[in-house]
Amino acid sequence: MEIQVTYVSTSAAGLPQREQRRLAGTTFRIGRGTQCEIHLPDARVALVHARLLIDEEGARLEAEPHRIVHNDREVGGAKLAVGDVIEIGPYVLIVEPPPEGVALAFSVRLSKRVSTKQSTAIYRVLMRTPPLSKRRLSYLAFFGLLALLLAPMAVDLLGREVPAVRALSIGLAQTWNPGPLARGHQGFSQDCRTCHELPFIQVRDHACMACHTGVREHVAPERRTGFTKVAFIESRCAECHRDHKGRAMAPRSQQLCVNCHGADGVSDFATAHPEFRLALVDGDRPDEIRRVRMRDASGPVVEHSNLKFNHTLHLDSRGVRHPRGRRVLGCEACHERAEGGARMVPVSMEKHCSECHALSFEPKVTGRQVPHGPVKQMQTMLREFYARLALGDVPADVAPPGDLPRVRPGAMLTPEERQQVMRVADAKAQRVMREMVETRAVCSTCHHVSRSRAGEWQVAPVALTAAWMPGATFTHARHVAQPCITCHDVRGSRRAEDVAMPAIAQCRECHGGATPAMGKIASDCAACHRFHGGQGLWH
């Protein structure tokens, strides 16, 4: 079947123009989509707005779900009759009497053209954007923030000398601060330039050394050879000591030590640490330090202090003889902790021995003692003592010995007589001296005494080791919970040569390695060693 569509438009001259088209079929689509047979190009029309169905009974429009206006009534579909007026969007369809052989005829006219005013209004809606401009905001954000954030630099560069500007820079600089300073450095937080001396240059050692004078290098420059020569070239303080990282500035990771010392097989206290090495001073060579590894192949370490001492005897549980009866001694009778508790006070004859080991030279005559010191002093004291007695000047605390002839007090002596008296007194002093050294063995109880060819007694020089491990940061104060004997086992020791320093195995009973272990104190390298040295308690 055929239908006839007449498109009515207005010509340039304002006259109506009619353009007729005939279409064949039974179903026709009406809409703005180009696939539609009846094409109504306007935005107010749907793509396929309605369907026109033609059959024997007549013509029918189906618009659902869209709406059309059929004779001024809005409907979803309608049967068409001649004279009907249908509005589809801005178009008006008027059903006309069909010519011969045509099922349906209608005209299509655009009734409501979009006015310029209308489209302006539409574009106002579409184009209406918020008064805020992204670009303006971006400029503002960028330059505003940049100025704000770089202000510390500007202030730092321009006005460090002006007090007010300086105060401002202090405040601003805080925004640059990447983290809290180490405790000791917090006083510098007001002035970045204290450490950061030059802009864009890394912190120089110069700034550190301004305060930290006397810090020793791990390997002194003159001792650097081979690997260490390379390893310590141009290393800055700040490579290890990083500030702005909270309170701790000194790294104490064991890994740092192991990086180099691992090559020597030292990597952890618990598993890979050599036996301790002692720094011994010998009585015969008091200016030299003899460094001996404990428990090496040559047997136990021996100290050559030139003293004689028997720990077993002194620590006898029944006590030792004492002028006032028997007395049981403990370690602390002789070994006192020094002030601060880290070190021990050196044992002194006067303080710790003389109560029992009196140096009396003729107990029946006097309670006086010879001085503890060089043989010469002793001899001088004896000669003076007996000369005085021989000359008849007897002090109240002395009962004159029978074998020393004396001059009557107040007698006038000739020089010859005087010399005679002195010779007698000297002979007596010599006799007493020999008796002390050889018969009573007063000196040789503790000392090695010999006689020179010229007949003079000589006491071997004594040197006691005060710092056995001078490099360690060991402190007795933190070990007071343990009895002395735990580490310094002197049970059975009968000679002064015995060394009672603990071996590493003894330390390991309590101290583990860097990794925590059950029942052990985690101890990394820094627990006992100092990187820079020279800070140890035992130096």
């Binding site: 306007d42 935005a43 107010r44 029309v45 749907a46 793509l47 001024d72 809005e74 969007g89 801005p90 409501k112 979009v114 209308q118 209004a121 539409i122 106002r124 809606v125 579409l126 209406r128 918020p130 008064p131 805020l132 992204k134 905001l137 971006s138 954000a141 960028f142 330059f143 505003g144 923030l145 940049l146 954030l149 770089l150 510390p152 630099m153 730092d156 805080q174 925004t175 640059w176 601060n177 990447p178 983290g179 970045c192 950061h196 802009p199 864009f200 240059i201 890394q202 912190v203 490579e239 990083r242 990282k245 909270g246 500035m249 790294p251 990771s253 064991q254 890994q255 740092l256 990086n259």
Partner: protein
């Protein structure tokens, strides 16, 4: 996307493997990995910012804008991983954390944008169907004129309501407008809706011809109300697809400023 995934995985792996040199108390931007991640992140930021340049270079043949945008999204997301690792999880009240926070905000706003672009186009199609926004606005204009014509034959009170509801149409029904209004969508007081209610209330008292006319008026007004709502919803979707950019773009530039300050401040006081 593959580049971004590889980048993230690589960064995470290296970070996990990389035991910060024992010298440093904790990991931070100053280790070699820190510097590497920082440099990479900074370059990424610059490249991400270049999307704004690339999309305006219509004649450029350096990849498609689509490809750039896709990479922008994925690499932008990977930046979150890289920069977080660069920070070593160290935050404080300073320029450095400010740069980080700005970056997180930019990425978050970008994520909102991705969500908007995934969700709203479908909703827009569903809302307007095959109509266009322009067509709907024109239809609203037609309905306005029709209402005014009908109202001429009705009492003054009705006429007044209709005039108020249809005056200047697009302006008076409050379509578009400020960003806030656009975002509010149909949640604003609408004169058309009010007019419908008024007309129905008044119409109850009319009879005969007047009632029929009033019925037509209400029908047209109701239709308009539906369309107006639809337009509002459409504008709202459009606004939703735009508004995140108001955060994303200025924040990006703020980030650039903070990044410059961060880099300068780190090396100024090295």
């Amino acid at each position: 996307m593959r580049v971004a995934l590889v980048l993230c995985a690589a960064a995470l792996a290296v970070y996990a493997w990389h035991e910060p040199p024992a010298v440093y108390v904790k990991p931070y931007g100053g280790t070699w990995l820190g510097y590497a991640l920082g440099t990479l992140s900074a370059l990424l930021v610059l490249w991400l910012l270049l999307l704004g340049v690339r999309k305006r270079r219509y004649r450029s043949r350096m990849g498609t804008v689509q490809g750039w945008t896709s990479a922008h999204v994925y690499l932008g997301a990977s930046l979150l991983v890289l920069a977080t690792l660069h920070s070593g999880f160290e935050f404080d009240w300073n320029v450095h954390t400010l740069a980080y926070v700005l970056m997180v905000l930019v990425i978050a706003s970008g994520a909102v944008g991705v969500y908007a672009y995934l969700r709203y186009p479908a909703l827009m199609t569903k809302n307007l169907g095959e109509d266009t926004l322009e067509g709907t606005l024109l239809t609203i204009g037609d309905l306005d004129r029709k209402c005014r014509r009908i109202a001429l034959d009705l009492p003054d009170e009705v006429n007044a309501i209709v005039t108020r509801a249809t005056r200047g149409s697009t302006r008076e029904v409050r379509l578009g407008g400020s960003l806030w209004r656009q975002l509010a969508g149909d949640a604003v007081p609408c004169p058309t809706r009010e007019a419908c209610a008024e007309l129905m209330r008044l119409g109850a008292a009319y009879s005969g011809q007047q009632a029929a006319l009033n019925g037509q008026l209400v029908s047209a007004m109701t239709r308009k109300s539906t369309l107006v709502d639809r337009v509002r919803r459409d504008l709202r979707y459009r606004a939703l697809m735009q508004f995140w950019l108001y955060a994303h773009v200025p924040l990006s530039f703020a980030l650039l400023a903070a990044l410059i300050a961060h880099v300068i401040s780190v090396f100024y006081f090295w």
